[in-house]
Amino acid sequence: MATASNVAGTNPAQAQEFTRPVRSLWSDAWMRLRRNRLAMASIIYLFLLALVAIFAPVIAPHSPGRPTTTELRERGVYRQAAWVVDEKNPKRSGIWKFPLGTDSAGGDVLSRLIYGTRVSMVVGFIPMIFTLTIGITIGLISGFAGGKLDSLLMRFTDIIFSLPDILFFIIVQTAFSQTAFGKTFNGLLLIFLSFSAVNWASVSRLVRGQVLSLKEKEFVEAAEAVGVRRGSILFRHILPNTLAPIIVAGAFIVPSAIVTEATLSFLGIGIQPDTNPNNPFPTSWGQMILEGKSAIDSQPWILIASAIAIASITIAFVALGDGLRDALDPRQ
């Protein structure tokens, strides 16, 4: 008979085993992530940006819309940032009421920057969700079903994958931006859809690869051997084990979507500016870069501030993505 001493835990030396808290792979990953200072700083920064985006109307010192004539007189146009003194043109000298100065229409640059956070946040997250949903679904079906369906889906994926994406966006934007559909949410919906339509391909390839390797794993065979139904095998055994790389991929989709939106807006075919003060998405950082480029001599801070904003949010997401990868895949 199995003796008492065979039972793990009855040994005095292993008594400490009992006091140790349960550690799932997720909690282990979270512990590793917490030790990564850069990733944690990024999380805090992004959390703050999210707050800024949500509470933009409260935080922004001025309305993002077109100023009234009286307001315009006070603001001036192309007013420099607060710490810049323009002796030749006192109307352009910076004042602290408009910390980052004003733009060509007298809009407060800081307020626009604050509202611009909203666009970057939604333009990062919503396409990520679309992309992941399409990519995961097609990847799972393709990898799990195999055979003809797999070949068919993968050829289709290859076609999508080989599309030159920026060219595709430009064509879509120029073709649809003037339609009613293209104008929904200042054109954001169109950007979401065109971005997701191209970018799911890499996710579905990733997921399919994961599924194919997991299908060969002994624990999947074991589930089949005890009579677990195919649906349960897919959703209980395979899907949870593909999540780690999917999360990492998701973290990298966000900055790429943000940069895409900025690029399109910079080309003048991104979201459409709106001076209506009630529009929740009146402006984007990409647009501000475009405007700042033409005003580089008179008011460089439009360009500098928006460029810093885009660069920092992108870096934060990439650092978070790297941190997640290290945390979720500690093999190195």
Binding site: T3, A4, S5, N6, T10, N11, P12, A13, Q14, R32
Partner: protein, 357 residues
């Protein structure tokens, strides 16, 4: 006996820094290898046997690893103090190593011939032509048919057994004084293992190279080695000549290992396993590392780490007590009875407590 040993490891200490703390992978390990001798190092995963051999080659990845103390005297020189460039003159030349998985130590994009001649030209100062001829000799020596043709093949064109032969040929290329074989047959099938072991035995007699043979397989040790050290939890726990160790094991762990393996020529109806698990090398304790699994355990074992002591001529063991294999069954039964008594007492306590409330 009069001759100084080829290799002498003294109080070797190797540590690894991990996220959970410092792991003492090798703890105060001392042993020596004489010229022409084959020393077996036996142990399970985590026993420190591979780390020890990598330390001799100074191949411990650093960080996280570190030789924290001790000496490795090779032919009188302390390798611990050697610089990387000095070590490069030793590695592959005077000491060489063969690994469990030859595929990881062969470069997949270079032809076998290129990989073999490179070190010959570097260490032996041969011309390209001389090196090639020597490589052909070596391959035929390790029993590879048509060596002049196979020299131009890539590693993946060889089978597992053939690849291990190539590794052995490369290991012996510069006539090393010491060959370290780290589980060289573990990944191979039995019939291929037999081929490789026969080859190593033949080469040992022909070249007189000293060999450190690292393995977990006691059967392989029995057939291959002159002397054996047994490692457990980063320590040497027993050391003796091969005959002596198998005839008269004196450390409970060695006894446990010998009793727990089924033998092809045996008639055991039931194996006697070693209960429990190997210890966590993170914790620093002053008890005997084997105490929690030991059938012979006494009070003293929980408060004192035994060091190697002489138990018979040329036989040392790290056990506080003079024990032998025949006592084990008696001790094991006694221990189980004691544990049962403790459990019964606890149960009675619980019952009494329940009745009271």
């Amino acid at each position: 006996m009069a001759e100084a040993p080829l290799l002498e490891v003294k109080n070797l200490q190797v540590q690894f820094k991990t996220a959970d703390g410092v792991v003492n992978a090798v703890n105060n390990v001392s042993f020596s290898v004489n010229r022409g001798e084959t020393l077996g190092i036996v142990g399970e995963s985590g026993s420190g046997k591979s780390v020890t051999s990598l330390s001799i080659m100074r191949l411990i990845p650093s960080p996280p690893g570190k030789i924290a103390g001790g000496q490795i005297l090779f032919d009188g020189d302390n390798l611990v103090d050697f610089s990387e460039s000095e070590m490069r003159k030793i590695r592959g030349n005077r000491i060489s190593m063969i690994f469990q998985d030859p595929m990881t130590s062969l470069n997949p994009v270079l032809r076998i011939g290129k990989q073999m001649t490179e070190s010959l030209q570097l260490h032996m100062g041969m011309t390209a032509k001389q090196a090639r001829n020597r490589a052909i000799d070596l391959l035929s020596m390790v029993g590879i048919p048509a060596p002049d043709k196979r020299l131009d093949d890539f590693p993946h064109q060889f089978s597992g057994g053939m690849r291990q032969r190539v590794m052995i040929a490369m290991g012996l290329a510069c006539n090393p004084e010491l060959l370290i074989a780290d589980e060289p047959t573990t990944a191979l099938d039995v019939t291929i293992q037999a081929q490789i072991l026969e080859l190593l035995n033949r080469l040992k007699n022909e070249t007189g190279t000293a060999i450190i043979f690292i393995t977990h397989d006691l059967g392989v040790v029995a057939g291959m080695t002159d002397r054996v050290i047994v490692m457990y939890a980063g320590r040497v726990v027993e050391q003796a000549s091969t005959n002596e160790l198998f005839r008269n094991p004196r450390m409970p762990y060695t006894i446990g290992l010998l009793d727990s393996i089924p033998r092809l020529d045996g008639i055991q109806t039931r194996l006697t396993p070693i209960p429990g698990l190997p210890p966590d090398l993170l914790e620093k304790t002053n008890r005997c590392p084997f105490a929690p699994r030991c059938d012979f355990v006494q009070e003293q074992c929980w408060i004192e780490t035994p060091s190697l002591r002489q138990v018979a001529p040329d036989h040392t063991a790290a056990c506080l007590f003079d024990i032998d294999r025949d006592q084990r069954q008696v001790m094991a039964e006694k221990k189980i009875a004691e544990e049962q008594a403790v459990l019964d007492a606890a149960l009675e306590d619980v019952l009494a407590h329940e009745q009271a409330s």
